[in-house]
């Protein structure tokens, strides 16, 4: 741009962008792979004019100059095409000639991603790296009084329960009298959380299902996966693998027409039904599948027209009071499967979680409570919801557990924690910390995408374009040209790798604490933290 040309308020330089492309003319082969792979068309072929001066001091030749043209990569500065830092260009470059670099200061782009008055939408997690869970240490190491166990050789039982557990007196009475005992599933404490068919690509979904089936049938690890709001492929509904699936119903009821119609043909009951009232990434906001991703297949499963955005309402239409409608919904869902399937609600982390929990304690059909903290990920949400709304999971889970313990119901309503578990790669440590704070199990989504499919997203605002269907790894895209990049079997293999390594790490945590016969739910005496106020708040030890 010439200095005397007019500029607009949104005229940005490369320096103003969050991600800046570093490109080496020396190494570039001009093959064009980078420009074609870029999911947001942030780079294009650049034709550069360059003046070269010839000033030979040694001879009498008069100085001259010559204009030359060279070709290379130019980064667009239009906010609509800003680089997202996914670095696919780097991945495909044969010569490592190109790489996006993060700006050294707060970008100016953020002030302009609202063209047409539409605030920023994106996928991913809250753009805040770090977190409290990583600060929690396991301090109660079994030493000479109770020698540590051998994580590699001893017998371990690291299962958890999903379902309403009756108090012992009642359970025995109901058993004797052949009364109704609520369904309880014995499952692995690490659950693949609700990522919908639609949010994820068919290959990703199939890979996850395949991995889960392998873990169950070949390795005996009862791993469960939740569908999210988007229904379930008809063939899965009618297969024996349905028992490894938790079906989610949310405020848009997408996919439930198909599910209800499949009921008479189901060979197995699903593992459970999750009623989504909220999620950590966008608390108080409904699910969102943007039009880019609603193709023929997705539309068919969800029972909607193609090419329209699918925003679920923030709340269930029938809901006007927790006492009446939540209870009714839990009961209706239980009834649909003859009271053989646990039904539990999932809510966003919130300071009102205790009110919800207390209500559930009085509802004999409520099978648990899943709480999704502020660090939860999503396929699409408003940036403001993601970055600023929600409640951290640690205190929510701790309060909920202590509240149940006060009521004597800590074994009756299992709590499941989600939201940023393994955010910094420390999956087993984060999960174990939450379990010892009182969770019966944890739910993960983003971590699975990262570990099993190579998701590039990060809390430094890298990539995070799950919402527009352009996922460069094919994880959250509905475009066959993109999702064919993802090999179904290899996703499954990675899912298995991930769970097996998690299992070993979890044993490496609980064995030194002297625990092996049961999951150490609520074993808060094992936890310590060097933040005094956090220790006080969580009722764990303050250690420095």
């Amino acid at each position: 741009m010439l200095p005397n040309r007019p500029i607009t308020p949104s005229t940005l330089s490369v320096k103003d962008l969050l991600w800046q492309i570093a490109w080496s003319k020396d190494k570039c082969t001009l093959c064009g792979r980078c420009t074609s792979v870029c999911p947001v068309s942030a780079i294009e072929l650049g034709v550069f004019r360059k003046r070269t001066l010839n000033t030979d001091l040694a001879s009498a030749v008069p100085p001259s100059n010559v204009y030359q043209v060279y070709h290379g990569i130019r980064q667009k500065t239009d906010p609509a095409y800003a680089c997202v830092g996914c670095a696919m260009c780097n991945l495909v470059c044969p010569n490592d000639a190109i790489i996006p670099m993060r700006t050294d200061e707060a970008d100016k782009l953020r002030f302009h991603i609202n063209r047409g008055g539409s605030p920023r939408n994106r996928g991913g997690r809250r753009n805040v790296p770090g977190g409290l869970l990583d600060q929690i240490k396991f301090i109660r190491i079994s030493m000479l009084t109770d020698p540590a166990l051998d994580a590699g050789r001893h017998e371990f039982e690291l299962r958890t329960l999903l379902g309403r557990v009756l108090p012992p007196e009642e359970n025995i009475k109901h058993f004797k009298e052949h009364g109704w005992i609520p369904p309880v599933r014995e499952i692995y404490p690490l659950v693949i959380g609700s990522m919908s068919f639609g949010a994820l690509s068919p290959n990703m979904w199939e890979g996850l299902q395949l991995g889960v089936a392998y873990l169950n049938e070949e390795l005996g690890l009862p791993v469960r996966m939740c569908t999210g709001e988007g229904g379930c492929p008809p063939r899965l509904l009618r297969s024996r693998f349905l028992k490894y699936t938790i079906l989610q119903i949310a405020s848009g009821y997408f996919g439930w027409d198909e599910i209800i119609h499949a009921l008479p043909e189901m060979k197995e009951d699903p593992c459970a039904i999750e009623i989504k009232y909220g999620q950590g990434a966008k608390p108080g906001d409904g699910g969102l599948l943007m039009w880019h991703k609603v193709n023929k297949l997705i539309a068919a499963i969800r029972g909607v027209p193609t090419g329209v955005s699918l925003p679920s309402p923030p709340t269930h239409q029938t809901q006007y009071s927790i006492e009446e409608s939540v209870a009714k919904m839990i009961q209706s869902m239980s009834m649909a499967w003859g009271f053989r399937v646990p039904v539990y609600p999932k809510i966003s982390g919130t300071s009102t979680a205790m009110a919800v929990l207390n209500n559930l304690t009085r509802n004999p059909y409520a099978a648990g409570l899943a709480i999704d903290g502020e660090d939860g990920g999503t396929g699409a949400a408003y940036n403001v919801s993601m970055d600023h709304m929600g409640h951290p999971i640690a205190t929510n889970i701790r309060d909920a557990y202590l509240n149940l313990a006060k009521l004597g119901k800590q074994n009756e309503i299992p709590l499941f924690a989600g939201g940023g578990v393994g955010k910094n790669g420390n999956l087993a440590a984060n999960a174990a910390a939450l379990i010892m704070l009182g969770a019966s199990g944890v739910q993960i989504g983003k971590y699975v995408m990262q570990a099993a499919a190579g998701c590039l997203g990060s809390e430094s605002d890298r990539c995070n374009i799950c919402n527009i269907g352009q996922c460069p790894k094919g994880i959250t895209s509905q475009d066959p040209r993109l999702y064919r990049r993802l090999d179904v079997d290899m996703v499954a293999e990675r899912v298995v790798d991930m769970f097996l390594s998690f299992d070993t790490e979890l044993k490496k945590i609980v064995a030194p604490l002297g625990r092996s016969t049961a999951l150490p739910i609520g074993m808060a005496d094992a936890l310590g933290i060097s933040d005094y106020h956090a220790a006080e708040r969580l009722s764990i030890k303050y250690v420095v």
Partner: protein, 376 residues
Amino acid sequence: MCRLFAITSKTPVSPMVAMEAMDIMREGHDGSGVGLFLRDLSGPFDEMKEAPILSGIFTEAGIKRLDRYMMDLGFMTKYKISIKVPKVPLPGTPRRDLYLIRAYEYPEGWETLSFQELGQRLLNIRLQLRAMGEKEEDMIVFSFWPDVIMIKEIGDPMQVARHLNLDRKELHARVIMAQGRQNTNYAINLYACHPFFIEGYATMTNGENTAFVPIREYLLSRGVRGYTGYQSDSEVFTHILHYTLRQLGLGIEAYKHIITPLQDNSLEAHPNGAFLKQLKQTCRQLTIDGPNCVIGCLPDHSLFMVQDRKKLRPGVVGGKPGCWAFSSEICGLDAAIPDRDKSKDFQPMHLDTTLVGPDRQEVKICSQTAPLPLPR
């Protein structure tokens, strides 16, 4: 590690039998304290099986308060053993005014009460006395129950026993449980010393329960009177036993299924698999962990021993009809019952519940994989 020794004998034996057995086992153990539980008493107490006996340690002021309190309730002293404390104190043992063992006559009208109601009242009195004592630091109360005496003190078990002259006829009993260590994992406190007792049930443990905190929270939230204290991680074993038998109405065979439930495959193969699976789920918070050998005594005077899921602690049962002993180590057993058939000694493994009933005729071994007598 704690030293444990328990004996059940048709002919009453002196507590010194247990003390000597523990002394033989002292190698590799510290001698930081002693806890003694005597039941099915002989001598003067044989004549008053129904009379509740209060055991504890009192200061001069404490005893006065106790007398006032008991008198107000209408209890009359029926018989007492005075353990005179020698003038020269034992090094390492705090100076005490009085070790009290006193049998009471029930207040008028209490004889007609049901056993259950009577038990509740005795428990309430013990808890009340304990609370009073903790406030003024003038009373420590171990048990208040018919036909049961408990003595606990800090110091080497043998020295303490000699110091208090426990080898006296009045203290001879047919069931004796002894433990030789102060709690070292938590604060030193006589209330942290095994055996623990509640409403006729007593246990002592060798090991450490790593699941202590969640179990304590669960027991505390049961709303059962007497599920308090927990100065030691081992106290939960007594309360789980009480909970299993008294609150849930199950048999002693179910105790092991609650503290160390079977795993999937064994449950599926078990004739009572369906019930045990429910029991495992509903009592999940009572699953113990860590290395533990538990020796306990039931209200019918049965003695039993169970091990943790991995059998990480030693424990042996041996003897002859009429006299059986449960011991941490074989040398302890050798000291107490040398003339037994040693080839019949039994070391319970991870699935076993070993029980000697009130008839003292044989050792019954119940495996967790065996059918379970179901609640009726």
